[in-house]
Amino acid sequence: MKKISIIIFLLGVFQISTFAQDDISPERKLAIDSLAMEKIRDLEKYIAIIGSKETPASEAQRVIERATELFMVDSEMGVSKLGSDKTTNYPVREYFQRLMALNYDKVTISWFNIQYISDLEKMPDGRWVGVITIYQRFEGTTKEGLKYKDTTKKDITVYVERKQTQISGRTIGFWDVLLGDVRVAETKK
């Protein structure tokens, strides 16, 4: 899927062989946003699969690998709970492992049909960075039938990098997107 999206991007949007890319035009920003949102949708899908109690453990482990590949190395999830001022940071892989091991009999994870995509800002290393905000609804039911529900706001760092590859002797530029640190905050919604 990742390969297909990059190829579509290469063929459909940016057949550009230059790297002189100081500003991102509104049109290009929209295209990068949609590539970033594709990663976010993948992440949402993986989280729902990892959290679901119907997913066999071996399958969940495989999906954790896929989900982790969406992120830059060393990315963390900073989790804060209502009623507590403390935020706990977990490496993304550990966060997914904890999600898989949650002690509920049934878990449903769904996503609100809303997101906010920030501007992209250039970093001193030449890459670009933005933040996408999404909202998740979690519902867990214990064996005894007790229900727990929460809504969390997830602010997800998105790194965007201009890269190049050789195709049939031609240098083709493309935009690569990777996810970074995520702030996970429980909301009062």
Binding site: T87, F112, N113, Y116, D119, K122, P124, D155, K189
Partner: protein, 277 residues
């Protein structure tokens, strides 16, 4: 309050900040989420009228972009209406100033004159203590980055100028004739050593903070709270904070607004930085 409720009604009708979208039972929740100012980035966009009612980015030439009539109605929505108090005259003047048709004021991410205050938890020599980090956006040859500009840390503060008089603490003007042998007395009681520094000496807490961290005496334990201080609008200061609560008045909102002249600005900066107290 009545005016605020009226504004909400107007904005609900015009759809500003709230996209009515029927998705089963989530309608109300989603409206609330649309209304929330979800990022600082969105605060800038809403302040400047650079996003449409669905949260999409507006660019120059788009209808509604930098629309000052729209801003007059929407700006009251990015004030905290539940826990903060605003002087009505100052608020009115502020909104009139920034939406002035001839000379409007828009916030600029790279415009300077704004900075972050991050309250963090630390362990200092094994004991819990909060520190205030001040960060500013620094422009680089390529891109930009947030940098630490100052630190306020009460345990450091308690070490300096504890005795307000200190007038008898000096090295007399003939000390040089004795190879400054009286320095021995200065450093024997090191609790008062700062009084022997030059006029207006202020300790650099940031350097001490970095030093203590490098010496493993100080450990970062997490972020408690983040605020942003804005001085981009002439004659005004405002602060924004994040609110996490039910209802439409939520997210990153103005929590403080003051009308200030240049002297008051310097005093205010000193207060924010806990300097000169």
């Amino acid at each position: 309050m009545r005016k605020f409720l009226l504004s909400i009604l107007i904005l609900l009708n015009t759809g500003l900040f709230v996209r009515a979208q029927v998705i089963g039972e989530l309608l109300e929740d989603e409206s609330v989420l649309y209304a929330e100012t979800k990022q600082i980035n969105q605060f800038f966009k809403r302040f400047n009228s650079e996003e449409d009612k669905d949260g999409n980015r507006l660019y120059e030439g788009d209808p509604g972009f930098h629309d000052n009539n729209l801003r007059e109605v929407s700006l009251p929505m990015i004030f905290d209406r539940e826990t903060s108090y605003f002087n009505k005259n100052i608020e009115k003047k502020f909104i009139a100033d920034v939406t002035n048709k001839k000379n409007p004021v828009y916030l600029e991410f790279h415009g300077g004159e704004w900075f972050a205050e991050v309250v963090i938890y630390t362990l200092y020599y094994g004991r819990s203590a909060e520190a205030h980090l001040f960060l500013k956006l620094q422009e680089e040859e390529v891109g930009s980055k947030w940098v630490l500009s100052r630190v306020y840390f009460e345990p450091f503060n308690a070490l300096f100028f504890d005795n307000p008089s200190g007038v008898d603490k000096f090295l007399h003007p003939m000390s040089h004739e004795l190879d400054f042998m009286n320095l021995a007395k200065v450093f024997r009681d090191h609790s008062m050593v700062e009084y022997y520094a030059y006029d207006n000496y202020l300790p650099d807490y940031l350097s001490i903070f970095i030093y203590e961290m490098k010496m493993n005496h100080l450990k970062f334990e997490g972020v408690k709270k983040v605020k942003f201080h804005f001085f981009q609008v002439d004659q005004f200061y405002f602060m924004i904070e994040e609110y996490n609560r039910q209802g439409f008045n939520n997210g990153w909102l103005i929590s403080k607004l003051e009308e200030i002249d240049e002297d008051e600005k310097n005093n205010l900066l000193n207060t924010i930085y806990h300097e000169g107290n």
